[in-house]
């Protein structure tokens, strides 16, 4: 089934935050984790578009690294935002599934 483009940016944000909820990861580890989690092959351009924005918003932060693969981790604010978004998504999903079941 063709994937809708609506909400892709939002999806990418949630995917990155969810992946980092497990613990700090560098860019390539994030790409692999997101692919395993959602089946979505995210490119470096999309990933860093999201990462830079999340860093600017204070939702993720970079850690020191010894090589050129810099790891990122979720901040407290990032955890709060992720929890809120996941709860909202879950609420909508439950309602949607209930309504589909009633059809």
């Amino acid at each position: 089934m063709a994937r809708s483009k609506i909400g892709r940016t939002q999806d990418a944000t949630i995917l990155v935050l969810t992946s980092l909820a497990e613990g700090p990861k560098h860019g390539y580890a994030l790409i692999k984790d997101i692919e395993a989690m959602s089946g979505e092959a995210m490119g470096p351009g999309t990933l860093y578009g999201v990462l830079v924005r999340l860093e600017q918003e204070g939702l993720v932060e970079p850690l020191e690294s010894e090589d050129r693969r810099r790891p990122y981790r979720l901040t407290g604010a990032g955890a709060v935002v992720l929890r809120e978004r996941l709860e909202a998504t879950t609420r909508v999903a439950k309602i949607g599934l209930r309504r589909l079941g009633a059809m």
Partner: protein
């Protein structure tokens, strides 16, 4: 020679991004390409991200002291207004109307800034008889001029500019009133600082005074005839050209001077007085709102200028052509508006996000 698309796409990013992320992204891109992904798709994704980063702007330097941060916020919040107000001042300075209509002893006082296609037909009119102004109702013996669609479009743009400028002014007043108490309290030992706190109010009074003054003077219209393509065209400038120029120039100078003065004063105070996060919250919220208004202002301004440029020949019978003093400045004003849009959205939005997230509790283990 083989062209490295990925390197080109990385080089398209702004300098701040390349300094911070280029090595990191190049390493990850190499990893991804080793998996066999399409170089074209990866480079395309990076090129799109480059455009996104140009629009977004850099991460602010968090080593700044809070005082400097407040200064940045105050200056950035005021920047759009500093550009918007003079723009409105000079667009409202004086207007000229030209039409092939013969108005006999009377002249319409059209108002294209009102968004109605019949603005010329429904407004109260001014009669000019032997140099004396008298007001008449539209039922008088006047031939009504009509408006072409570009004039109408420019009128809508002009109306939007006015509305957005008023909203911006209200925003500035609200920001000032919310900060005034804190600034006055913390500046109580300095008479100069106490005076500076009032500078936005002084600017508002000065601008209102200038507006009333130019409106009062604009009642003295000077009708005349000019020849366009060999046909007589009625022309009306709301002031004598030299006087109109003086009024408009002084409005721009005084309006801009007073406002910039007040902005500098507020930035100066903000740099020396530490505001708490709660006190800074309202100015931050409103400055973000103003940051969103300025792009709308840019659209309205483009509409206004485009409409003016597309107006027809003033000798075409039955149509009123409108022109404004200083409308030749449009490229400069447009560049200023676009610049202020980018600066305000970027600086204010990012700074505001930062401060809000810094206030959230840390729950991540």
């Amino acid at each position: 020679m083989r062209i490295d698309l990925v390197r080109i796409a990385l080089a398209m990013h702004p300098r701040w991004w390349r300094r911070r992320y280029a090595d990191e992204v190049a390493t990850i891109t190499a990893d991804v390409l080793e998996e066999g992904r399409s170089r074209w798709l990866v480079a395309g994704g990076l090129a799109i991200d480059a455009l996104r980063q140009w629009a977004r702007g850099p991460v602010p330097d968090l080593t700044h002291s809070p005082a400097i941060r407040r200064q940045v916020v105050a200056s950035a919040a005021a920047l759009p207004i500093a550009l918007v107000i003079p723009l409105v001042l000079y667009t409202t300075s004086y207007q000229s109307y030209r039409s092939a209509l013969w108005f006999q002893s009377g002249a319409l006082l059209p108002s294209p800034s009102w968004p109605s296609p019949h603005a010329f037909d429904h407004r109260a009119i001014k009669m000019i008889t032997n140099g004396t102004n008298t007001t008449m109702t539209p039922s008088g013996p006047i031939v009504h001029g009509s408006m072409s669609w570009p004039t109408y479009m420019s009128g809508i743009g002009y109306f939007l500019i006015t509305v957005l400028a008023l909203v911006s002014l209200l925003g500035l007043l609200t920001v000032w009133s919310s900060m005034r108490g804190a600034l006055r309290h913390r500046s109580r030992h300095s008479r100069t600082r106490r005076f500076l706190v009032w500078s936005p109010a002084i600017a508002m009074v000065a601008i209102t005074g200038l507006y009333l003054w130019s409106n009062y003077l604009s009642q003295q219209q000077k009708p005349s005839f000019v020849t366009v393509h060999g046909r007589p065209v009625f022309s009306m400038t709301v002031l004598h050209p030299l006087l109109a120029r003086m009024v408009s120039d002084s409005n721009v100078t005084l309006g801009l001077g007073t406002l910039v003065g007040s902005i500098v004063a507020m930035a100066f105070l903000a740099s020396r007085v530490e505001l708490s996060a709660d006190e800074a919250r309202v100015p931050l919220g409103l400055s973000r709102m103003i940051g969103r208004i300025v792009p709308l202002m840019t659209v309205a301004y483009s509409l206004w200028v485009l409409g003016l440029r597309l107006q027809g020949d003033p000798s075409s019978r039955g149509q009123v052509i409108v022109s404004y003093a200083h409308s030749g400045w449009w490229p400069l004003a447009l560049v200023c508006l676009v610049f202020s849009s980018v600066v305000s959205v970027r600086a204010i939005g990012t700074e505001s996000h930062r401060l809000q997230h810094q206030m959230l509790p840390i729950t991540h283990g």
